[in-house]
Symmetry: D2
Subunit: 360 residues, 4 copies
Amino acid sequence: MGNSFGQLFRITTWGESHGGGVGVVLDGCPPRLSLSEADIQPDLDRRRPGQSKIVTPRKESDTVQILSGVFEGRTLGTPISMWVKNEDQRSEAYSEMSEKFRPSHADYTYQAKYGIRAWPGGGRTSARETIGRVAAGAVAKKLLRERWGVEVLACVTRIQDVQVAVDPNGFTLDQVEATPVRCPDLAVAERMIELIESTRSAGDSVGGIILGVARGVPVGWGDPVFDRLEADLGKGMLSLPATKGFEIGSGFGGVAMTGRQHNDLFRNVDGRVRTTTNRSGGVQGGISNGETIYFNVAFKPTATVFHEQDTVDVHGQNTTLKPRGRHDACVLPRAVPMVEAMTALVLVDHALRHQAQCGA
Amino acid sequence: MGNSFGQLFRITTWGESHGGGVGVVLDGCPPRLSLSEADIQPDLDRRRPGQSKIVTPRKESDTVQILSGVFEGRTLGTPISMWVKNEDQRSEAYSEMSEKFRPSHADYTYQAKYGIRAWPGGGRTSARETIGRVAAGAVAKKLLRERWGVEVLACVTRIQDVQVAVDPNGFTLDQVEATPVRCPDLAVAERMIELIESTRSAGDSVGGIILGVARGVPVGWGDPVFDRLEADLGKGMLSLPATKGFEIGSGFGGVAMTGRQHNDLFRNVDGRVRTTTNRSGGVQGGISNGETIYFNVAFKPTATVFHEQDTVDVHGQNTTLKPRGRHDACVLPRAVPMVEAMTALVLVDHALRHQAQCGA
Amino acid sequence: MGNSFGQLFRITTWGESHGGGVGVVLDGCPPRLSLSEADIQPDLDRRRPGQSKIVTPRKESDTVQILSGVFEGRTLGTPISMWVKNEDQRSEAYSEMSEKFRPSHADYTYQAKYGIRAWPGGGRTSARETIGRVAAGAVAKKLLRERWGVEVLACVTRIQDVQVAVDPNGFTLDQVEATPVRCPDLAVAERMIELIESTRSAGDSVGGIILGVARGVPVGWGDPVFDRLEADLGKGMLSLPATKGFEIGSGFGGVAMTGRQHNDLFRNVDGRVRTTTNRSGGVQGGISNGETIYFNVAFKPTATVFHEQDTVDVHGQNTTLKPRGRHDACVLPRAVPMVEAMTALVLVDHALRHQAQCGA
Amino acid sequence: MGNSFGQLFRITTWGESHGGGVGVVLDGCPPRLSLSEADIQPDLDRRRPGQSKIVTPRKESDTVQILSGVFEGRTLGTPISMWVKNEDQRSEAYSEMSEKFRPSHADYTYQAKYGIRAWPGGGRTSARETIGRVAAGAVAKKLLRERWGVEVLACVTRIQDVQVAVDPNGFTLDQVEATPVRCPDLAVAERMIELIESTRSAGDSVGGIILGVARGVPVGWGDPVFDRLEADLGKGMLSLPATKGFEIGSGFGGVAMTGRQHNDLFRNVDGRVRTTTNRSGGVQGGISNGETIYFNVAFKPTATVFHEQDTVDVHGQNTTLKPRGRHDACVLPRAVPMVEAMTALVLVDHALRHQAQCGA
């Protein structure tokens, strides 16, 4: 259980790191959307290992294939099945993993829960699982753009102690894609890249923060009381590997303010109800208020570090483990399209839910 | 939509601030659990207005009544319906609210989404909605305690700029309940109470942070990939009114560390696999690892402040609003049982899901 | 589990025969529908015991109360909670039931499944459970009528060996309500009433068939492949107490025909695509085709008969049981509003689902 | 929407007749079940076209490939993705179908609902969709057999006017598989085969009835009130293409009996509570009672007949259509494994649900 996300625009992902591949089935997509692999591959390329010098050099093309749900270039309203074949399966490089639990990975908990685990490449816990999310997210982003004029975007704002304040309304996809670290501030991006490279050289790893935004969301999306927009966004983000925190609008920082300071006052601006500030982060009472939605996601440093560390083996005996092979010293650049994907999936789901109940 | 939470231990809450009452239907409770109103009322009393000098004096007994699902003192396995009657309905005190949107409340978004809203007392957006959650949460807490030896607890660790570090393993319910602010550190609690009282005198409000913990959770609860334990906990917390952030384990602070510093190393301790640190917060790969689960929840300052503020009316015209009546200057003390309730609901749901798939 | 029905227009029923009452929470109702108890009570009155000489004389007013989700006479889009208090609780009359399992009732299976059961009045297995369905169904029928011009109706076409062929397009609510047996053919109705009365005098019981119809359903409702309209209708009907069969359109009788005989040919009639026959029963490939939807539901004879019958007691020992008290000799007249309710609930759910995915 | 079935043992099928293939993702399978393609292929072969002289000669091997969820021959507890490639895609043979709606097929309703349809081979409405169900059903059948000792089986009991009464406890898989028509009575089977052949020669088609049984189901599976075992079985069966009716136990025939005649009396047999008759069909109050579950499913005659028939085209104009190509004159033999699959899927789902709530 647990491999599906969304209610009306619903994805189910499948696949292990080593095996037949990874994929996703997307059910509930509106019919007659123009769609082909060309709409999806670019985001998969942004997520792919080996795309730049600061990410893991695992060599796979990650070429997506649409197996169903599209006819003559348009969606049918039936399930869209997409898959990416696994290519680079050097399982021998990981053989020690069959016997020892990697610290701060999910090896131990999977083994304890299921009594079995696919240890090569981390099996289901591999970041390859997110391929299905990113593929479906690309469909969601296209729908948002074409049907509702909504733009979903994310960027890296912090790597360990290197950080920059980014205005949720003040950056573009081009700026994000200008450097491999996906921070729109070029000067800071350079420092981040240096930090990641020196960290990798040291066999260590770093985490950071990704800012996610959605611009142009109409008033009224989100379903109180449990399926608030921020609750579903939070769940989506916290379902991404290596995430440890989520905050929307003023977030943890807003705690230091008083109510008088924090409140977003309403004003009529050009005939439209707007707020003069946006500490709410575009959501009030779980429902979008027409302002830009923005939130931060905290990613812990990558668990794989190339130093010998204490651990236990599958028999519960104390031992040590020094990983070999290849791994990202920092996952955040590749996680940017994942954050976008989960954001878009949540928004389309709520757009359709709003359309169902409120007819618009 | 959106008024249900959980898959196998599933609650549906209903009710507006002013109307027949508020309640909850709990479906999926295991049979033969000893249960009566006496198990539930104490948590409702902790949530209740008027319980101490620092919370809103709205006078309601909030007496719960179990209408179904229990026979001769034990659960039947059928839906447990619980309700609390609304008593204190001075709707005239709120009449300006029918015409004006309160800043940073959900009045505007509800009106925009549904084309109608129950303005007296905030209708469905009132904190009274959480009565149903707390009632069902009390059942969940009892189940956790009796069937799995799990203890769920929460406390206030920060009010605006007054804060204290609390060890997730180092505080008790008695310490939490020792002061009306529900911070287990008595000296800090006193300062918090002073801050809340002075804030209320100034007609202003403050927010803060609640720490939630679950001790004794066995290894193996949680369903990757989307229904990770932390994702469901995050969703649960972010569905509570006034929340703006959630972090588990090292959270946003962990971002400053490297992987070598952050990793929780495994050790065999007395024949059991343990971690020497707990930056993971008791969850790895979405599955509990047997360590204490702990997380922080950020609450914004209460939106109702007793000062005149800019806003718009239901016709979109600029105006001002100065609330009258009664309102918490700080919701956190009353939110402690809400955090416990959502934690317990998530845990029981995953306990049953684990039992379903893995048979234990 | 199992006490909810529907995905977007979702009901959760609760309550036992003897206890606080029975009720339903309806989530997902579109906002701004005019609604009051007066819209619901008539169908509850049709379902009520004691309404005529041929149904059980249990004396309860079954007065519904709307507790939430309606404000100033219109729906809010929030959950609509409705309940009916239990009044007539002569539990002493049923005391033998605490020790013995009634044949062909659910006493034994409940006890075996849950290890406990509420024996007074049959507890959750009592037909009182359907009060919640009928109440929510009344809301659904009103929505169908007002928003889509759809009419849902049902009638009795067979009681044991007394039967009549009824044209799905050829009967009215007035005709159904003209006699207490709810068969629109007056002559047949009279024979049915006689049969029920003589059966009751003999302490025995009879079953029969109810025809359900939905007229005016637009083309396009229904979600292949699993949530076909007929599959959801079938599930809805088979979830009613005492049902043993469901057939749509030509049903079991269609088995005797060849494809050439059975096929519904398309013709353009006044600019609209119609079929010249309707053996499909208004549904093709799981989706409504614009023709009248009609189906039959088989109800077994009531299990309670006033004769001594073999059974076992709760200790598994052979014994006999002769029921006392009051019970319908035939449930079909009271089941007519239940069939209508489940039909309407399925249709609204699919109307909203269609609106979500296909935007109309 | 609508392409998933089950709650805890949940399948999502995908695929059109002509395209990348058809497949299924199965989520919630218990871990450590021994599983390989060899467990699945036999049922796909029973479902496959071209397996005998009385079914459509479409030539495809329908070879299943497990892409995920299995490691070293055992299930992981993660999603099991299975697919079958489409091979035989002579779309030119169907070109008239792009312009005309086949009578009693789903061409018109799909076009009306979605504004688009994949006309080659019927697209999503093709019986190829059931490949995914049968594949997942094979996993379910294996689980039922190995974990609970439950045997699921189905057979053809009627083709048009040729029929035989089959004792639910009195036939074996070998008897079913002894003839291509899958009726365990050899003499009747021969007459059925003759009827199908002569019907095919005449360019016509026939329907019939399939009996489904489950033997050895323990007491206690099934969730009242909406997810009764018979309601979920009914939904499963009515979701199969060409089905028009479902009845369990005494079904429509039970309507002719009185309660005294119909009741199943309880007796203690060798220390176990049994019923002396089984008109309930193994289910009471929605919960299995330990007796054999049995039910009938009505299939209409195949809609494709090789005669010119009236219809309309995609522009709504009257026209005629005479199908070409290949099609089953009777789908029932191939539908037998589909009935078994849906039965097994429902039972495993409820077995896990029972395990979740009642812990056994």
